[in-house]
């Protein structure tokens, strides 16, 4: 059972807070001044000290408690919600600061964590920042190579940098639940269903350039044409959007439930239904009329991509990229395995082609346990 030393000169307040703490199974030892607190700590050794703000010199009292009992976590309770004051008290050493009115949930959480304060981890996650690190690496390499001619140093750094860039084939992304990927010139778009947003990344650094939030949609697939971005959400709602700042919708189409992947071939919209496991070729009329339908030849398509006149799909369960016969899309011409997924740490959710390579975006397994990842794959044959 967690025990608490409660410091307050007001018997009424001590009783009020003790009742709340008692209801959540906390044992309370009251003290009305610092001398009383010393006695309680000496005799009962409670796990946590809770101190109530009662006069303007509360900060002084906190400081004194920290110097007297440096091993005891201190939770300060202030009279009004004053964030600046709370932060000041935390900087002084209070492990947590609560304010009136107190709730059982907050008391329980603060006491559960008392003595186990969290840490702050600082890291340069995004590749944009790597440019700075590359600079330091270059500088360091240059120092080591002191004595060599400028031309040699320059050539060496260039080779080193090029090698680093070409070896890097995966990038962490600042979100957890990616669902689709598409390229648009120098930019790439990635949908994240959990944050209900589309992220525009610069393909050079993979830094996020723009985030567009869809409050009423959960995007599961995207397709890009020269003038529009098509999105499909989890309910099967398909929307064509302008490529403006807000991606304003220009056309809403009939719902196609269970649609999990779309692609545009320049004339027809191709959709994949995950329930019936069928590929459909559709007109872009208001009903998205089906022109043809084919059984999917793989396990389950998670994404579709058109490159010129060839249709490719990401078969997520089998971790393969399939090339379909465009005249008979239910026939496979080639299968390209994705060894990046062989360790079972990620599941691919989106496929894109940047003009040179295939890329996949993936979510961690179990879902949400780590940040999303982006992989650059070798060029599959025949391309």
């Amino acid at each position: 059972m967690i025990s608490v030393a409660l410091l307050s000169s007001s018997e009424e307040k001590r009783r009020e807070i003790s009742l709340l703490l008692g209801e959540i199974g906390i044992l309370v030892y009251g003290a009305d001044n610092l001398a009383g607190l010393k006695e309680v700590i000496g005799a009962q050794s409670p796990r946590v000290i809770m101190a109530l703000e009662e006069n303007p010199s509360f900060e002084e009292l906190v400081r004194e408690m920290i110097s007297l009992f440096p091993q005891k976590p201190i939770i300060s309770i202030i009279n009004s919600r004053d964030a600046k004051r709370a932060v000041k008290l935390m900087l002084l050493g209070s492990e947590e600061v609560l304010s009136f009115p107190l709730s059982k949930e907050q008391l329980r959480a603060a006491l559960n964590r008392a003595g186990k304060p969290p840490a702050t981890s600082l890291s340069l996650v995004p590749p944009a920042s790597l440019r700075g690190l590359y600079f330091y690496a270059f500088f360091f390499a240059s120092l080591l190579a002191l004595g060599l001619t400028g031309w040699i140093i320059h050539k060496h750094a260039e080779t080193l940098k090029a090698a680093q860039v070409s070896q890097k084939n995966s990038w962490d992304l600042p979100y957890f639940y990616p669902s689709a990927l598409a390229f648009d010139g120098d930019n790439a778009w990635i949908a994240d269903w959990f944050s209900q947003s589309l992220y525009e990344h610069s393909t050079g650094s993979w830094a996020v350039k723009r985030v567009i939030h869809f409050p009423n949609e959960m995007p599961v697939s995207i397709a890009i044409t020269p003038n529009s971005i098509w999105t499909v959400d989890a309910s099967g709602k398909i929307v064509r959007r302008l490529k403006n700042l807000d991606l304003s919708p220009v056309e809403h189409y009939d719902q196609l439930p269970e649609t999990t992947a779309i692609a545009f071939d320049g004339l027809y919209l191709w959709t994949y239904n995950s329930a019936s496991k069928r590929l459909s070729k559709r007109l872009t009329d208001s009903r998205l009329s089906e022109v043809a339908s084919y059984p999917y030849p793989g396990a389950q398509a998670t994404a579709l991509v058109f490159i010129h006149n060839s249709l490719w799909s990401l078969d997520a369960p089998d971790r393969e990229i399939l090339l379909h016969d465009i005249n008979h899309p239910d026939h496979i011409i080639s299968k390209t395995p994705l060894p990046e997924y062989s360790n079972g740490k990620y599941a691919p959710t989106g496929l894109g082609f940047d003009g040179k390579n295939f890329w996949t975006v993936a979510q961690s397994l179990p879902a949400g346990s780590a940040r999303a990842i982006l992989f650059r794959h070798k060029k599959p044959n025949p391309l």
Binding site: R81, A83, K84, A86, V87, M90, L91, E96, V97, L98, E105, Q106, R108, A109, A110, N112, R113, P117, P118, A119, T120, S121, L122, S123, L124, V125, P126, A128, S129, G132, L133, Y136, P174, Y175, F176, D192, F194, S195, Q196, S197, A207, V208, K209, V211, H213, P215
Partner: protein, 116 residues
Amino acid sequence: MRKVVLPKAVPARFLVVSDPSRSEDWGRLTGLSSQGAVVTSLGPLKLGSRVLLSWEIHGQKFELEGRVLTAKQEVSGYFTSFIFFIRAPERKKISSFLIDFLSLKSGGASGIRTRE
């Protein structure tokens, strides 16, 4: 990639810009990168809400606007949210700070853990 861990999480204030009825709240930063910050607090943050986040690390003050991209309640009862920094210049500012800070701390100053 180098990572520095400050053993005591940095206290932070946050104001929910998209909800003017809510007063300024506080919590601790448990993660910071050039893209955003992870905030742990007793008060919840709504997914998608805009937040003005302020904190101080080693004498340097920051005040950045961000959007809550993930929000969940931990078993302890605390809420953990990832706040993505909306503005590119601000991300750049954090990035430069982190580059300086991480390179300075790579020697492993007292109480600070570094990982590669």
